[in-house]
Symmetry: C2
Subunit: 478 residues, 2 copies
Amino acid sequence: MIQLMPGRANHRAEMVSLMSLLEDLQKIIDDRNRVSTSPSELYCYSLDASQIEGMPDVVVRPLSTGEVSKILKLAYHQRVSVTARGAGTGLAGGAVPLKGGIVLDMSAMNRVTEVDVANLQAEVEPGLVRDDFNEALKPYGFFFPPDPGSSAMCTIGGMIANNASGMRCVKYGTTRAYVLDLEVVLADGTVINTGSRVLKSSAGYDLTRLMTGSEGTLGVITRAKLKIAPLPKARRLILTAFSSAEEAGRAVVRVLSSGIAPSACEILDRTTISVLKQCDKRLVLPDGDVVLFEVDGTEASTEEEVKGIAEACSPTAISITMAQSQMAMEDMWAARKLVGASISRLQPEKSRVYVGEDVGVPIKRIPEIIEKVQEISDDVGLPVMKFGHVGDGNLHVALFIDVTKRDQRDKLMEAADRIHVAALDLGGTVASEHGIGKARAQYMRRQHGPALDVMRAIKRALDPIGILNPGKLDLESE
Amino acid sequence: MIQLMPGRANHRAEMVSLMSLLEDLQKIIDDRNRVSTSPSELYCYSLDASQIEGMPDVVVRPLSTGEVSKILKLAYHQRVSVTARGAGTGLAGGAVPLKGGIVLDMSAMNRVTEVDVANLQAEVEPGLVRDDFNEALKPYGFFFPPDPGSSAMCTIGGMIANNASGMRCVKYGTTRAYVLDLEVVLADGTVINTGSRVLKSSAGYDLTRLMTGSEGTLGVITRAKLKIAPLPKARRLILTAFSSAEEAGRAVVRVLSSGIAPSACEILDRTTISVLKQCDKRLVLPDGDVVLFEVDGTEASTEEEVKGIAEACSPTAISITMAQSQMAMEDMWAARKLVGASISRLQPEKSRVYVGEDVGVPIKRIPEIIEKVQEISDDVGLPVMKFGHVGDGNLHVALFIDVTKRDQRDKLMEAADRIHVAALDLGGTVASEHGIGKARAQYMRRQHGPALDVMRAIKRALDPIGILNPGKLDLESE
């Protein structure tokens, strides 16, 4: 038997058997390979990259908006929950079906349906992998800027559902800034478009932005029109090192205030730097708390901007180094991308667990949160690395435990909780770009206060029976 | 007697007398100057810059969030409508109280409460005038980029409520891109914050963006935290002329695709140019359909960008001219700002009426909408000028009538309707930056289809009695 969503009092309350649901689904999708209840497959869909788990009853792989609409109509009438899923790279359980029901694996809807350079946009299906999208745009001289660490795997639909961003968002903005129009299937199967091909509009509620970041709780995205940006002609990298994270933070503000818009602005704290150095002897890294600036544009503009960054940093920097070659630059980015895994290379028994990993604070409070995180890590006795997108206040925290030791997991969860609370105390957010899902749902009231009730009212208005991705974002009213 | 909002069936249905409402309001605001029912004052609040009219019953000028909250609580319980208003510069009737009731004149809440350069943001009250805000930011070397034509009068609250933009949004984005957090008083008086001081967050529904552009129908904005941008060090202007609007449009796409982000990109069609020339003989203007590009940044970067623009335009341009001095540049912008009024200087009996003035289309369809608008104007026999923010597809249409002639008004309304329909047929929007209000409410269904029902559901969820700015955006279900 399948768990039914509570729904409204006057809704019919019969139970639905898995067998009858399957029969109905197969009437919609006449392809055995696309409707599955195989236990090994279900298991794969019960996880994402977080610690959250939940077993679906059935997995469906739709190929069209029409199929998604029919599936939702069915689920709505039978009060079965539906959780849409892209690549499952999420770090907060957003795509895990907590109440069982149907998982919609959107990964087969993965086409670039149009590249329209003359309108500076492209249209894609939600299952398209982000890096595949950029490969498709390259011949046109364009790219889609948001660049999460998982860009080789994660899907555009998942990025929109989480308002994903990454290193380049300090210059280019988050996913939100690129969504022009979403085709969305609502809980009852109705298909809407939230926007249009127009780059700018002021005509009613911004449903595009409401859907972006709503983690599949308001509708299922089946198509997206996205703004695209011209590929820059040149990039340069500059490494600046400071005697403290505080000095580093101040230098970042000086750079950003000077009118330079770096295409990346990453902090690697001194612990992170020392681990990286031990890990890869070839890397030429300065000592201290390091800020890595990247600029992009033309040869001339990047040269000018690098000079400007050096000027803004020089009063307090203990060292300023330019990456001297394309290769040195690539090495540096490769190191940055792998930073979270580097401790495991040194101490193979240690594993990084993604909890408390995505806090954000106002830029000027970055030094405070770094200090606070170190204090918590010392206190609970777990090693920690701190790095992140300092240009928009997003600190990634990597906590490491020996997964064979039971008590370490409790310490880990305690540390994560204290990190979340510390970020909120500094006027911050528990999630900067990884979403809330289930893993951070318990902080929604604390972060949003009475605004959570507004979110809940919107959820009830659009999904009265609560079939869409239930159990997430603390949206179900008590 | 005051018109009461219909509300829910079970809501008490007594009528409220103006006298008793006034008494209650005066208990909240013990200052006769801030609660008014004087007919001459009420008349001032019955209009904005559009053709829409509606008389309020009482005008209140709150000074604090607490007062706004108490007023809304009162209005909610008594089912009296509340329309918030900034400077009344709106062009669609958004601030006109169609159902009478209370007008909240927010213009006395006009302080810059904080400039926080280290977090790249400022906090303001909604009644602050946009240019006053920029005056306050200047000493810090920062500015608030959205720049509507009415920037000398319009308020930040009104800009947020309409998601206003202006010429520089092609580079800097619309108001939406700058709002970090709104303090909003909901229909029942509850005060919420939609965001925080963090530059980036992915933690629940984006209520900030939902409120931005909702034209006072979901809540009353009482405070805003806004991102600010560093003032550019240099600006340059380049005028390019083409043999057709189509060629002009194609050149714009070539420029934007080349990686140049102009800080303005304005089209002035050949009719507009010829009127401007007759109007001000000093202006050095080329013939043809003109695109005015502005770039900002450093001396070196703007020099490089101007070269890039010239290169991208030269294959098809009939002329390319640089503004040779600061003064030439200022003259050009002054002409651009006054373009809408210029016909009246030549033919004093003609007045510009703001209808059909804010359509937007996908960039590549700009030539088609220009042609279509000319066709409509020829057809109805009213003179027209066409200009606008071509870089984001926003065409401003200036229609002129002799207001002393009765039949001209009918022709005008016919032309406006046909222009709106033409924009929608081209996949566009009836409002790019001026909002929907009442003037364009009849196009909501056609533009949004079933998505309008989602907007209505959100409206009902947040304002069940319908007291907030009723009669706008076609939000009231049949």
